[in-house]
Subunit: 105 residues, 2 copies
């Protein structure tokens, strides 16, 4: 499972298109289209289908988008949770001096 590809897919699904997704995460539509194709090939099923000049999620795509949502929200939570520890370990002296004072910062 390539999580970078999954992220591209998720952004495309959320924004409803390659161009809008690309603007949001600063990636060109060609790249998004290509990388999502790679993801589809690895998973063995189609996630998007053309709908006029736009794309829309297939049934499998909806399932994948749901999981992706959970996964990337957890990723954000992880980063948020570790920010507390990040302060404490900014330099090693702090731990030696006192754990309590690190909190005052």
């Amino acid at each position: 499972m390539n999580f970078k590809h999954l992220y591209y897919f998720w952004m495309a699904a959320r924004t409803g298109g390659m161009i809008r997704a690309g603007q949001r995460i600063h990636i060109t539509p060609q790249t998004l289209s290509g990388q999502i194709k790679v993801l589809e090939a690895r998973l063995g099923c189609q996630l998007f289908e053309r709908a006029g000049r736009n794309v829309q999620l297939t049934e499998a795509g909806h399932v994948a988008a749901g999981y992706a949502e959970e996964i990337f929200l957890l990723g954000e939570e992880l980063e948020g949770a570790l920010k507390n520890y990040a302060k404490a370990s900014r330099n090693d002296d702090m731990r030696a001096r006192s754990v309590a004072t690190a909190r005052a910062d």
Copy 2:
């Protein structure tokens, strides 16, 4: 959040060492050590600390490992869930013939 780095960290945490983790996922210990260091730098906190000739999780490391566990289990679930759809889209004829018969397969 680089999920590849997180995966390396998670494997090292699960197996309790760089060498064991490396054997399991076919990555050299140098690479694991280095890539995990990159992860720590990005997160801004230490995840492992030396414990004798081995490494062990810091408090932050335990938190991160918990999230990583959830994330990668979800990833596996996702792949499993899409295997059903994978059959259906193996060739496009099936959809044209019938959605119901695809299930019997």
